[in-house]
């Protein structure tokens, strides 16, 4: 019960933080360099790992579905299966998980250490709201970078699947018919649903990580504790939200 109340409290104060950040949205043009820096942090540094992981996820997906679909004689539909699974589910979820692990953790660590070493207090006394220069540019950057990362993830997954299908003996669906099927069953709606999910996940992850970082209290030891908490909370939110967003979208 106590934990539930604590959870509600943090939820409320995270919403307050979002509200306060939103108040400063008109300062965003002035903060353009900071925004670009965060885009670089979120987009560029996560890109390699997104590329590699999603390529292999697409491949593994093709392998497994090739194996099981053979029994139904439905091998020719692998393209649709891999394509749709990547776009609607695995792409957004994997990107969100990687952003949480790669960027969210870095954000929490940075903000938590700023809090512990009184840098945040210094900002407050200088009448520079921390939400304005620490939270807002990151939220704006994640909203811009999530779709980009997700599109890259999808493409990598598709090509990973195509390669496996072409060169695995037991499947041997050539990439032309793979992509033809993929195209036939894919609608614009599928893609936009996936991107929407990615946007929601990214926004939630960065909000959680910023909030937990800024709520750190105590000494340097708490930085580590905040880090763990931020990652775990982010993962839980991604997977639980995933279910509910699917429920709404499908």
């Amino acid at each position: 019960m106590k934990q539930f109340i604590a959870f509600c409290e943090s939820f409320g104060s995270a919403l307050c933080m979002l509200g306060r950040s939103a108040c400063y949205i008109n300062t965003l043009p002035r903060q353009f360099p900071r925004f670009i820096e965060q885009c670089y942090m979120i987009g560029y540094t996560t890109m390699p790992i997104v590329t590699i992981l999603c390529f292999f996820i697409g491949s593994a997906l093709a392998q497994q579905s090739g194996y099981s679909m053979e029994n139904f004689g439905a091998k020719q539909f692998i393209g649709a299966l891999v394509g749709l699974s990547m776009v609607r589910e695995l792409g957004p979820v994997m990107v969100a998980i990687l952003v949480a692990g790669r960027v969210g953790s870095a954000i929490t660590a940075e903000l938590a250490s700023m809090k512990v070493y009184q840098e945040v207090d210094a900002l407050v006394t200088m009448d520079i709201p921390p939400e304005r220069i620490l939270v807002l540019p990151r939220l704006a950057a994640v909203l811009v970078m999530m779709p980009v990362l997700t599109v890259i993830a999808n493409l990598c997954g598709w090509y990973g699947g195509a390669l496996v299908c072409q060169y695995t003996k037991s499947i041997s669906v050539d990439s032309q018919s793979y992509f033809a099927v993929l195209k036939r069953f894919m609608t614009a709606r599928d893609i936009s649903d996936g991107l929407l999910k990615a946007e929601v996940f990214g926004f939630v992850v960065i909000t959680i990580c910023c909030h937990i970082g800024l709520s750190t209290r105590g000494g340097p030891r708490e930085i580590g504790a905040s880090l763990t908490k931020a990652i775990v909370t982010s993962l839980i939110f991604i997977l639980v939200l995933d279910y509910f967003i699917n429920e709404i979208l499908i």
């Binding site: 300062t27 210094a122 006394t125 200088m126 009448d127 520079i128």
Partner: protein, 267 residues
């Protein structure tokens, strides 16, 4: 949010501080107990006291980083715990540990305030920052990161960062601790010179008896979360209160009973 370009410091009003019956409890521990005093506009007020007596906590109430359990702190006519007050009164707080922004160079640390509050273009800001750095002879540290500075330099950068703000109210938390005597004296000079040239009100928390008695207009002594005495420095030179005389010029007593155990151990 944008702050309207404030009037030059000489034209701005000086502000005072009123602390009225301030009590602060952390959990069950009373750190400040019914503290009342007043800092008059434009004066240098020194707050002295043994460590752990609640000096830093008191300063945090004045800058609005802590809220009172009961009682009130006012800056001029504004409530210190109201966040809007910091937009109305320009106050600078020199943290005991410096609280420099570790991800920025010294220059960017100083330039952050004028940039965020848009006090002029980049050239004006540069001039302003360089001026503050030169006062504290920090020109060489311009492009260094805080992690590359010594403790004393960090403290000076923290003070320079406060000067760049051209504050109406300047609070120092132990500005001369950890500094060598020459730098300590420089800091004392800066505090005194600022008062002559600007309308700044200074509140200095310190252990440094010579600092307090040489430049302060008035001095207060805080012990165990209570104000023990307030007065002009002369009062403290003549005081007969044994607790205060012992705090100001402690006798070194090697025969004190608390050393008994040590002596016995060595025999």
């Amino acid at each position: 949010m944008s702050t309207a370009d404030p009037a030059p410091l000489s034209l701005r009003q000086t502000v005072g501080i009123t602390v009225a019956h301030l009590t602060k409890k952390f959990a069950n521990v009373t750190v400040l107990n019914d503290v009342s005093f007043e800092v008059r506009p434009g004066e240098i007020f020194c707050l002295m006291g043994p460590s752990g007596s609640g000096k830093t906590v008191l300063l945090k109430h004045i800058v609005g980083l802590e809220t009172p359990t009961s009682g009130q702190v006012r800056i001029g006519e504004f409530d210190a715990s109201d966040p809007a007050t910091r937009a109305k009164v320009r106050l600078a707080f020199v943290f005991q540990a410096g609280a420099l922004f570790n991800s920025m160079t010294v220059y960017d640390n100083l330039a952050l305030y004028p940039r965020e509050h848009r006090l002029g273009d980049e050239k004006d800001i540069r001039e302003r920052v360089m001026h503050a750095l030169s006062i504290l002879s920090l020109e060489k540290a311009l492009n260094k990161m805080p992690s590359e500075l010594s403790g004393g330099m960090k403290r000076r950068v923290a003070i320079a960062r406060a000067l760049v703000m051209e504050p109406q109210l300047l609070l120092y938390d132990e500005p001369t601790a950890e500094l060598d005597p020459i730098l300590g004296a420089t800091i004392i000079e800066i505090i005194a010179t600022l008062r002559e040239h600007t309308a700044v009100t200074s509140l200095v928390v310190t252990h440094d008896r010579s600092l307090a008695l040489s430049i302060a207009d008035r001095v207060a002594i805080i012990m165990d979360g209570r104000i023990r005495a307030v007065g002009v420095p002369e009062d403290f030179k003549r005081t007969t209160d044994p607790v205060i005389t012992n705090f100001l010029s402690p006798l070194i007593d090697l025969k004190h009973p608390r050393f008994k155990q040590l002596e016995n151990d060595h025999e």
